[in-house]
Amino acid sequence: MADDDERGVVLTEEQKRRRRSRSLAIALALAALVCLFYLVTIFKMGANVANRAL
């Protein structure tokens, strides 16, 4: 009993698998957001993206 308290909640293999898949999905979503912001910046600004005073 005391040993159980010490270990807290132990995830089952299924819970670990689902947590891993959720983590991967979040990572992919964040990477997609980076790409989206990059694309929006480039296609909104067009050639002006390189147009700045030195």
Binding site: L11, S21, V40
Partner: protein, 322 residues
Amino acid sequence: MSLIQEDRLERAAIPALPGPSLAGVEDYLALLKPRVMSLVVVTALTGIVAAPHGIHPVLAAISLLCIAIGAGASGALNMWWDADIDAVMARTANRPVPSGRVTPGEALGFGATLSAGSVLMLGLTANWLAAGLLAFTIFFYVVIYTMWLKRWTPQNIVIGGLAGAMPPMVGWAAATGSVSLASAVLVAIIFMWTPPHFWALALVKSDDYRRAGVPMLPCVAGPDETRRQILLYAIALAPLGVAPAFIGLGGPAYLAVSVGVGLVFVQRAWVVWRVREGDAARRAAMGLFGFSLLHLFALFFTLLAEKALGVAALPDLLGGWM
């Protein structure tokens, strides 16, 4: 300190923390109501493509993604609020929240985050009119329809249908920065299509709705009145479906398809009105429900196909005759 250390969740430290989540990625995708999203994608894309002057294809694609995610987010918020109703209806009992795979708080957080993110992203990508219309659509679906109308009036899906009808106008606004009569006609088609579509299903699932306490028309006014209203809406929808051919949106193919599917829709609504007993009545209602999906996709796909193939709109083809 992290709440999660290796494979351990420190529940004792935070008693309110629920148990380890069993939600998989597929459960979060289910929260977005992917089948509704597919309808939103087709209709919003039509709004973008049919608009007189477009935006860059990449920006159009990102705008479409934002509209689809906004629609999905409102679906997640709907599932958060309606979990009690969903739990007692056979059709929805296995949804992620009532089945316990996703907690209500997770659904709320997921839906709210995606709502805000999609509106902001659409504003940055296209323009703030489109973003405002998307925000209005989400607000209308979640607050006006889900929280208010759905449990209060049998006209719930009539008025609430405006939220589902808005995507073509949001798409049009994303492309042009404005709205127009043509985009309003596309909205009106979906608005008029929604009641017969849902009432055909409600005729078959009325016991489910009655058990859940949702005042759908068959539960409140009875199946006969529902059948009468389905027929009236179908008759009103038929000419409205043809209208894009005469306002510069559709060409000859659209005219032919809209007349054809409009007449079949009325014929099927007539069968639903006439056949009122037994399994034949159930088959007629489900037949109309299935055909209504085909009907809407046919109209919008034809508009898309004509634009893709460069077919001129009917008034242009007929020149001075119209």
